[in-house]
């Protein structure tokens, strides 16, 4: 088990400080962290799919949870970013006379399906699977 230090940052999210071991955790708390930061075991932090949405973490007392609406917004932004990247690639393919696979209609339908799945997701595991 590894001890880390957590605090709520200026964005309302959670900052996690991981000591390297050169000095004690207590010394890191006093030297590198703001007032109010607390030492916790890293096993108490969100795990699995929840860990993939670090920017949606929120701290209440000594408990870190995932704000699911933030997680959905993060996933949608990632999804749209990849869609833009794919759209650019497909446009270049078209200009070069290359075939796009799948065809535009099928790809467009998959985007709609993906966004619907994100909107309807109820767990972070579902978001990760999209």
């Amino acid at each position: 088990m590894t001890q880390v230090i957590i605090h709520t940052n200026s964005n309302g999210g959670v900052s996690v400080t991981v000591p390297t071991g050169e000095i004690s955790v207590q010394a890191v708390l006093e030297k590198d962290c703001p007032a109010g930061a607390i030492i916790v075991d890293d096993s108490t932090l969100p795990q699995g799919a929840d860990a993939q949405f670090f920017d949606a973490w929120e701290l209440s007392g000594s408990t870190v949870t995932v704000n699911f609406e933030k997680a959905k917004a993060i996933k949608l932004a990632q999804f749209n970013s990849k869609a833009v990247e794919e759209a650019q690639k497909r446009q270049l393919n078209t200009l070069a006379g290359l075939e796009n696979t799948p065809d535009d209609a099928t790809w467009s339908a998959s985007l709609t399906a993906g966004r619907t799945a994100i909107a309807n997701a109820t767990t972070t595991a579902e978001l990760v699977a999209i």
């Binding site: 230090i5 964005n11 400080t17 050169e22 590198d32 860990a51 993939q52 990247e85």
Partner: protein, 132 residues
């Protein structure tokens, strides 16, 4: 044992010598080799680094154990992954967009990993070296 050796040149047993300035200014003042997973960090080895603070999935602060003499130091970094070309990227200094303070201070430096395809900011092998 505390003490100070004052010399202009250092020399090994074979007669190879160098100016003391090379030893003082040519040696790394801090370095670290680590993995960032997007929510945690694993430090394999480090020197003069007390901790890393994650502020978001790809931005983190490298805190120095002992403060540097000033903030005019050099930050060298590279990053790599084992997952293929789509996850290649870089690591470097950055200035937090919501902050007025510099990304480099005598006690810490703010770093950011950036994927060339902007999709995967977590890297298996991050290397950062500080010279001053």
């Amino acid at each position: 044992m505390a003490g100070t050796i004052v010399a202009d040149t250092i020399q090994d047993g074979a007669g190879n010598s160098t100016a003391m300035d090379n030893a003082i200014y040519g040696s790394a003042k801090a370095w670290a080799n680590f993995t960032n997973s997007g929510s945690s960090i694993t430090v394999r080895a480090s020197y003069n680094v007390s901790s890393f603070t994650f502020t978001n999935a790809y931005t983190f602060i490298m805190n120095f154990t002992n403060a540097l003499s000033d903030a005019n130091y050099v930050v060298l970094g590279n990053t790599g992954n084992s997952g293929g070309s789509t996850t290649t990227g870089s690591i470097g200094t950055c200035t937090p967009s919501n902050s007025s303070f510099s990304n480099k201070t005598t006690t810490s430096v703010t770093l950011e990993t950036v994927a060339f395809n902007n999709s995967n900011p977590a890297y298996f092998d991050n290397n950062v070296v500080i010279f001053r």
